[in-house]
Amino acid sequence: MIPLSYFLILSAVLFVLGAVAFFVKRDLITMFMAVEVMLNAANLAFITFAKSASSIDGQIIVFFIITVAAAEAAVGLAIILLIFRQKKTIKSEDINLMKG
């Protein structure tokens, strides 16, 4: 049997890797993918605690998170596509409309 703490540590590592990818990468699509990695790390923690508590509620929460992530991906990618059409770039440095 695998100790459940391994899963928690793995989830922490994945979350941090997602955060690093978000800071290091420069194109919007990969930054968005990094957010998805962080969401997945949270899902893993939820499932681990559901297993630890022998409760199914954690799994239901993950089900909802996956659904909301799908909706978020649709809208987010639509926005990225819109930015690309207007500015012909998806580099995060070039998107400075709100810079004073």
Partner: protein, 165 residues
């Protein structure tokens, strides 16, 4: 056996996320991410959540990543993203990463000690999830459907070509 499977999946998962950080090509990034999400489905299966594991593979590794790949295809950047990324952002990100991981592990240490492997009874069968979804979690379930409709309409309206001229 399960232990071996866990470490194999963990190595593949972390390596593919690292590959996503290192690789410059967005299409490769998406493929790396599909691999990572498939591994995540394996973890869910190891944790007695077969239904969530299948949902993870179908929705995340299937639907969401196909959406990403389609958008990458439509954007089709001729010139690669320039590598003139500033060096200090990397060090900044690494510093934040170290702080964050120490913080997370310290927080989770409190959870480790009472963390036992639960009972032997099987949880997470599709029947149980379905029953709970339509009784206790009925309102969130219905609200989620409204959210998905809103996201669908919003995405279509956002990218629709406006023919005002």
């Amino acid at each position: 056996m399960a232990q071996f499977l866990f470490f194999l999946l963990a190595i593949v998962c972390i390596a593919s996320v690292l590959g996503m950080i290192i690789s410059k090509n967005q299409a490769y990034n998406a493929l790396f991410l599909i691999l990572a999400f498939a591994c995540m489905g394996g973890f869910f299966a190891l944790l007695d959540a077969p239904f969530i594991a299948v949902v993870q593979i179908i929705i995340y590794a299937g639907a969401i990543m196909i959406l990403f790949i389609f958008v990458i295809m439509m954007i089709n950047l001729r010139e690669g993203l320039s590598p003139e990324r500033k060096k200090w952002t990397l060090y900044f990100a690494l510093g934040i990463a170290v702080v964050l991981i120490v913080e997370l592990i310290l927080t989770m240490k409190a959870a480790f000690s009472p963390l036992k492997s639960g009972g032997i009874e099987k949880i997470g069968s599709p029947t149980d999830i379905g029953r709970l979804l339509f009784t206790e979690y009925l309102y969130p379930f219905e609200i989620t459907s409204i959210l998905i409709i809103a996201a669908l309409v919003g995405a279509i309206v956002l990218v629709k070509k406006r023919d005002k001229e």
